[in-house]
């Protein structure tokens, strides 16, 4: 018995919301970065689920692009985290704010 595609879409929506919540409430800069990656992976699930519905493969091709882009973003994000840690010896979002209104 196969699971209908709506369940996968619902799962991806849930993960997306979790990622958004993570970006807004987490205090650790690495955890914030992880949350953005979580959102991109939620999108991957959505694409694969819609492919199930449409009996197509175009969405799965798009998943490859998202994977590469997520990897590039993670690389740059971790590089920036390293640079920030070297300059400030801290990873707390609230202690790191210098630029303000």
């Amino acid at each position: 018995m196969s699971i209908p595609y709506e369940y996968y879409v619902a799962l991806s929506g849930l993960l997306m919301v979790l990622g958004l919540v993570g970006v807004t409430v987490r205090k650790n800069i690495i955890a914030v970065l992880l949350s953005t990656e979580l959102m991109l992976n939620a999108v991957n699930i959505a694409f694969v689920a819609f492919d199930m519905k449409l009996h197509d493969v175009a969405g799965q091709v798009f998943v490859f692009f998202i994977l590469t882009i997520a990897a590039a973003e993670a690389a740059i994000g971790l590089g920036l985290v390293m640079a920030i840690y070297r300059l400030r010896k801290d990873v707390d979002v609230e202690k790191l704010t210098e630029l303000k209104l």
């Binding site: 953005t36 999108v43 969405g59 798009f62 692009f65 590039a72 920036l80 640079a83």
Partner: protein, 520 residues
Amino acid sequence: MSVIEQLVSGLGMPNFVILIPEIVLLITAFTVFILELITKNRKVISAVSILGLLGSGLFILVVVLGILKLILSPITLKEASQNVFYSFILNNFLENFVTLYGLYVVDLFALVFKLFLIVGTIFVLIHLRPYVESKKSYYGEYYYLILFSLVGMFIMVSSPNLISFYIGLELMSIALYVLIGLYRRDYKSKEGAYKYLIIGGTGTAIVSYAIALLYGRTGTFDFKEIAKTLIISDNLDVGLIGGLVLLLIGLALKASAVPFHHWAPDAYEGATTPVTAFLAVPAKIATYAIILRIVVEAFPSVTETWGLAWALFAAASMILGNFVALRQKNVKRMLAYSSIAHTGYITAALAAPTGMGFAALAFYSIVYLFMGAGAFLLLSSLEKNEGWSNSLDDFKGLAKREPASALIMLVFMFSLLGIPPTVGFIGKLGVFLALIGYEVWWLAIVLVITSIVSAGYYIKVVANMYMYEPTVKNRLNISLTEKLSLGILAVIVLILGVYPTQIWTLTTTISSLLMAGVGR
């Protein structure tokens, strides 16, 4: 014949001639990438990058002039096919201009925007080397990252498909994240880059979720196919509404429209000033161009809703951008808020989804290139000097210390404010007339009132330059090249302000061609 050969023979060769500008730029970028490893001569690296940009730009300029000649003047097709040059243009740019199997389109709209993106980038590169050398923050990476980012913008403005749009957007943004963070031992730049990375990454995720929903609803990525599917079944269901809303949010985030603008002032303040100019002007213009293309090609059936949403974003951007800019003491941050306000002025034109509105959007974003880039680049050449902190007090008495720079700054400030005879006035007038023509009175009134409010901070800079005695007497060091390039920008702003007909005709042509969807 193997399976792969069969597949390839069925598809045929893509038209590579129309990709020449992109190919030239990519070759330049990789050349700089390798040159930077072998040679330490900074002038060579900068010269090679500018040469590559000039080559690509000249090609586009010739093609644009050829297309305009063919479209606007009474040359018959028969005459044109006998002339070598015209038949080249005709075969490659008026027919067969969709290449890479429908993933890339090089129409006049894309070409015009690419031309101006290149112009802006050349000015940024001219100012880059003196600035980073004076700040002891030279990296060869600046050059090829800027070129890669520019290629991303090119892909974005000529994407007829959500896949190429997404790849272009990401190529542009990822290069920009690194560019902002490249400022030696400066914490603010890392913080700005990190904020942009997180908010931009969220924007990416939102845009891709929107693409997923639209794909799930319509089963295609192509703008035209999406439009067809939506016209056949125009009921607004959850998938379509969700996709549209998320796409709007993602695009507003990339264009830094209020309420998704939080990254912009921080990233702008943290980055080295020439990079800020690149971020605030070419990157923004490419985003406006793709917003325009998406609304015209993919969602012609929902332009009203889309226009209303952008009207709300625009009104919020104009109000918040201008009022917050009033209380800034740092001129760079003030210009960042002014650029948010300009996002408001430019996207306000989308509230009038007519040919006039689209032409006004294209016109204002093209002329914003000259005044926005000019203001940021002038700041960059002033900032090279010892003890210059970009605060409003630093501008006191600038007219006595540096009369030429003060005059140029005056032109840019008046143009951003929209005082005739500068081109900023014409741009605002175009948007205003488009809004009046479509009877969106409330937005037109918001535009006028916030423009008046913006005088508060633009005039403050001018007053500080001309009505105070200088507190410091030491001479400012601005090289002749920089003065020349800034002078050229200021003269363009003035000339276009007196005689905007050419650019206005050009933008009207591209917007009507885009709406007619010639050949696609």
